[in-house]
């Protein structure tokens, strides 16, 4: 019994689920509104956008990289989506937006993988470029003529779940399957864990270092599409600050910034923990000015606990 328990707590996902549960219980005791159906519905709704961006971020961080450009890529691809919606049918416009996100990611990925530049620097540059282009292309104006049927991506429901939540779940299942059951996913882990060993064992290190940035860019476009569908307009400022939330979710979810360690389920719990804490603070009437301090503390605490638990002197 004790053995099983140790093994369970040794499992990253189980630890994260435990932590999420703990926070949920604490919040439901602290606030009578937390467990109401409408609030739970809110929680899911708020998880969607950051949840989708966090998938791409997980891919990138697993290879030992980082993508600081996610927020700006959302801004730029959002504007491109808005412009495309004026010219093309909705599905075509969405595909174009996703393709442009993937294209931006492929450039960052190539600079990191082929030219060996630091991911931090490359995506910092991409962050500035994409935000600036978003303003230039949009003429600093919000695009508000988003066609009404787009909103079905959010508000249609199926089996009692809203469409955007279903999209989130489907993407998580796909990502989980890819990372744990497909050659490419295992290669991403191997590259992040020991690039040299992966190379010598014959894995395609270059391609699988680029791929995560493509996934991240494409998912940014998906996320901004859902924002556009929800609020019916697209702002060049969309996704501002998203990199912090996404990185925080991945890190709270137990991933190592050195690469090789982390999981998509962990990231999902990371997203839920972030959203619950934000939501709980709102319910409890914590001043918005204090919320940053609370979130920051939780990020550092989560990483500290994770590093103490998985302890060992594995990375001296």
């Amino acid at each position: 019994m004790k053995h099983t328990l140790t093994r369970l707590t040794n499992n990253l996902e189980v630890r994260m689920a435990g932590l999420a549960l703990l926070i949920a219980v604490a919040l439901s005791i602290a606030s009578p509104y937390f467990l109401t159906p409408s609030n739970l519905y809110n929680l899911m709704d708020q998880s969607v956008v950051v949840g989708i961006v966090a998938i791409g971020m997980t891919f990138v961080i697993l290879t030992g990289g980082i993508d600081l450009s996610v927020g700006s890529v959302m801004g730029l691809t959002g504007i491109l989506l808005g412009l495309a919606l004026r010219e093309f049918p909705i599905p075509v416009a969405i595909v174009l937006a996703i393709a442009s996100g993937a294209f931006i990611g492929s450039i960052s990925g190539t600079l990191v993988s082929i030219f060996g530049l630091a991911p931090f620097v490359v995506t910092l540059g991409a962050m500035a470029i994409c935000r600036s282009l978003a303003y230039v292309v949009s003429g600093q104006r919000t695009i508000s003529d988003v066609p009404e049927p787009l909103s079905r991506l959010v508000y249609d429901s199926f089996l009692g779940l809203q469409m955007n939540v279903i999209i989130l779940i489907v993407l998580y299942v796909l990502a989980w399957f890819y990372l744990s059951r497909v050659k490419g996913g295992r290669t991403i882990y191997a590259v992040g864990s020991n690039k040299e060993a992966a190379r010598i064992s014959g894995l395609n290190v270059k391609f699988y270092t680029i791929l995560p940035y493509i996934v991240s860019g494409a998912l940014c476009a998906v996320a901004v599409t859902l924002i556009a569908a929800q609020i019916g307009s697209i702002d060049p400022l969309a996704g501002n600050g998203m990199e912090l939330d996404a990185i925080a979710a991945v890190v709270i979810g137990g991933a190592s910034l050195f690469g090789g360690r982390g999981s998509i389920i962990g990231t999902l719990f990371g997203v839920l923990i972030m959203v619950m804490v934000r939501n709980g603070m709102n319910l409890l009437g914590v001043s918005p000015f204090w919320q940053g301090t609370a979130i920051g503390t939780i990020i550092i605490a989560a990483v500290l606990v994770e590093s103490l638990l998985s302890g060992r002197s594995r990375r001296k």
Partner: protein, 640 residues
């Protein structure tokens, strides 16, 4: 050791744990002033860990250290340095861009005192002078330009400049030629006479018997015997203490005849500059060919070039009889070439993968579709685990890092074998592997060879290389030097052949003085069975000539065929009116180090007595007097 001698350092029950793994478990050790004390043990016995505990890199988990009679506890290297303990590590810790003198006084920059530059330069110059290298090492040069041997001396000078009385030398001869080692030993001797205590970490028996006063033997992290007097021990006793049982692992087995077997790997003048200059070799099916070279000779780089990790400039490669152009490791795998890299932690182990998935890593790389198909390899993994002696139950452990070095290596050998390669390139397969696991790995490699796999073995442990290989291809400065049967050569000879060409300088001086004095051609040759290798030659004669340097030739085809055949040590007549003389060189322990061969001009008889005398005189001032001429028997007629 007399009781009056000052005890510089005493370790009592020192243990060091990394996580749950004890690298040291209860080591006792004592160092007195004016001695060289050997720390002896197999790879992975804990020698280097103990050295690191003594010099403050690791804090001991248990036990006490006393330096100069006072208990000490070091928290960082600086503490040990301040207490008067210095270390010369295997990988030199010099800052390449800085000059020699700056490197020597580098520790001063970490302290609070601020002497002037000229003062520091003077300190450095004095340290070099004390070691006797004032004329040879320019202290203004940057350290990058120095040879491995000189770098090491700079490190020692640094310790001398600090005034450390306790000096640890961790495998200092690993990258040195025999001549360079001899000079290092002279420096060590001088430091000993100054009343310092030297800790000499080594696994080379010869060196330990030649240099050390006392010896402490480590096995599996514990001191089996502490502070024994070296002179009281014999080699077999020492080996027995190191291994814990009579040695049986390293006996050479009968070499199967594979000369008719197909050649599975063939390299012709392969070049991947700057490290690999020209390497030619063949490996037959069922054969283990040892690539013998010192650190820095281009051995590992050759392996990397074969995988396509380094560009190939010229030369041709045939793999399984087909032309092969290295492109990337995946294609090498698919073509049937398996590679086990040297550095497990850096190049092999994927720390976040389970043991099983680590083994499956090369399987992962050669999948053509996207599905993992891990299950298809289960049977083969189980079979390999049983063959190599890895507990099946451990295959699903979550991390390979919790395994001992030997178990890690077994799992990684399994990874390479999973794809059933026909040709295996193994780079230091027993580095950091305990004795028990070594024996298993040796037996396993022999088994693989007997099944028809061609193995190219790279090892800096020449004892292992000679015992395990069927043939040896020595490599020096990126050039292969023919091929010799493993049974026809000993460790010392192999070290001499593998010595960097730069160290031939001294030999050339000696040979050219002989050549000038007597008007003949002189060369340094090594004889192995019916083959001869000329290391270097000086002078020339009209007509005949000694064999070209660096090429192994059959003895009967050379200009000195009769001398080689007779092996009498006396002047022999050769064809066309030439005469030759072969003088065997041996070291202080009577081990042959090759021969000096001289070849006269046409119809110019050799004066045996005068030549031997001149050679003996030259040798006495050469290589610190480490070498001498072997005596010869009474003259017998040398027939044509």
């Amino acid at each position: 050791m007399s009781a009056a001698q000052e005890i510089l350092l005493a370790a009592t029950g020192v243990s060091k744990a990394f996580g749950s793994f004890y690298a040291l478990k209860g080591v006792d050790f004592e160092l007195v002033a004016g001695e060289i004390h050997a720390l002896f043990g197999a790879n992975g016995a804990g020698k280097s860990t103990l050295a690191k505990v003594i010099c403050g890199h690791h804090a001991p988990t248990a036990g006490t250290l006393q330096a100069f009679g006072k208990p000490v506890s070091f928290h960082r290297p600086r503490d040990a340095m301040d207490a008067g303990i210095g270390i010369v590590t295997q990988e030199t810790s010099l800052a390449g861009d800085l000059s020699v003198w700056e490197n020597i006084v580098l520790p001063v920059y970490g302290s609070r005192s601020k002497p002037s530059r000229s003062q520091l330069r003077k300190t450095a110059a004095e340290a070099i002078e004390r070691l006797g290298f004032a004329g040879e090492i320019d202290i203004e040069k940057s350290c990058e330009e120095l040879s491995a041997a000189h770098r090491q001396l700079v490190e020692i000078a640094r310790i001398v400049a600090l005034g450390s009385r306790i000096i640890i030398l961790d495998e200092p001869t690993a990258a040195l030629s025999p001549g360079e080692s001899a000079r290092l030993f002279k420096v060590m001797d001088a430091l000993r006479k100054e009343g310092r205590g030297l800790i000499f970490v080594s696994h080379r028996l010869e060196e330990i018997f030649a240099m050390t006063d006392r010896i402490t033997i480590l096995r599996d992290g514990a001191s089996v015997k502490s502070n024994l007097t070296t002179a009281d021990l014999t080699q077999p006793e020492l080996i027995h203490l190191m291994v814990g049982r009579a040695v049986e692992t390293l006996t050479a087995e009968k070499v199967p005849d594979t000369s008719n077997a197909p050649i599975l790997l063939s390299l012709k003048e392969m070049r991947s500059a700057p490290e690999v200059r020209s390497v030619s070799l063949d490996v037959h099916a069922g054969e283990i060919v040892g690539l013998g070279g010192l650190v820095g000779s281009g051995r590992s780089e050759l392996a990397e070039a074969l995988l396509g990790l380094r560009p190939l400039q010229s030369g041709s490669i045939e793999l399984l009889g087909n032309p092969y152009r290295p492109s990337n490791p995946r294609n090498a795998l698919i073509a049937g070439l398996g590679f086990l890299p040297e550095d497990r932690r850096r190049q092999s182990v994927v720390p976040d993968f389970s043991v099983r998935e680590n083994i499956l890593l090369s399987h992962l790389s050669q999948l053509s579709g996207h599905r993992l198909r891990y299950g298809t390899r289960n049977a083969r993994i189980n079979e390999l685990a049983d063959m190599i002696g890895l507990d099946r139950a451990r295959l699903d452990d979550s991390s390979l890092l919790n395994f001992s070095g030997g178990m890690q290596q077994k799992a990684l050998v399994m990874r390479v074998l999973l794809l059933e390669p026909r040709v295996l390139v193994l780079d230091e397969p027993t580095k950091g592997v305990d004795i028990g696991a070594r024996a298993t790995i040796y037996a396993f490699l022999r088994h693989l060879a007997s099944e028809g796999i061609a193995i190219l073995l790279i090892s800096s442990d020449f004892e292992e290389l000679l015992a395990l290989s069927h043939r040896i291809v020595p490599i020096s400065d990126g050039r292969s030097i023919g091929t010799v049967s493993a049974g026809e050569i000993n460790e010392e000879q192999l070290t001499l052949i593998c010595a960097p060409r730069s160290s031939l300088e001294h030999q050339n001086t000696l040979l050219s003085s002989l050549a000038q004095q007597f008007g003949l051609q002189a060369g340094w040759v090594m004889v192995a069975g019916s083959q001869v290798l000329c290391l270097t030659r000086q002078g020339s004669t009209e007509g005949l000539s000694l064999p070209d340097p660096g090429i192994v030739a059959p003895t009967k085809d050379t200009a000195i065929a009769n001398s080689l055949d007779q092996d009498s040590g006396h002047v022999c007549d050769e064809i066309d009116g030439h005469q030759s003389l072969l003088m065997v060189i041996e070291n202080q322990r009577g081990i042959g180090m090759g021969s000096i061969a001289v070849l006269s001009g046409k119809n110019r008889p050799l004066d045996q007595h005068a030549i031997r005398e001149a050679t003996a005189h030259s040798l006495s001032v050469f290589e610190e007097g480490q070498l001498r001429l072997r005596a010869v028997g009474p003259e017998t007629a040398c027939e044509q």
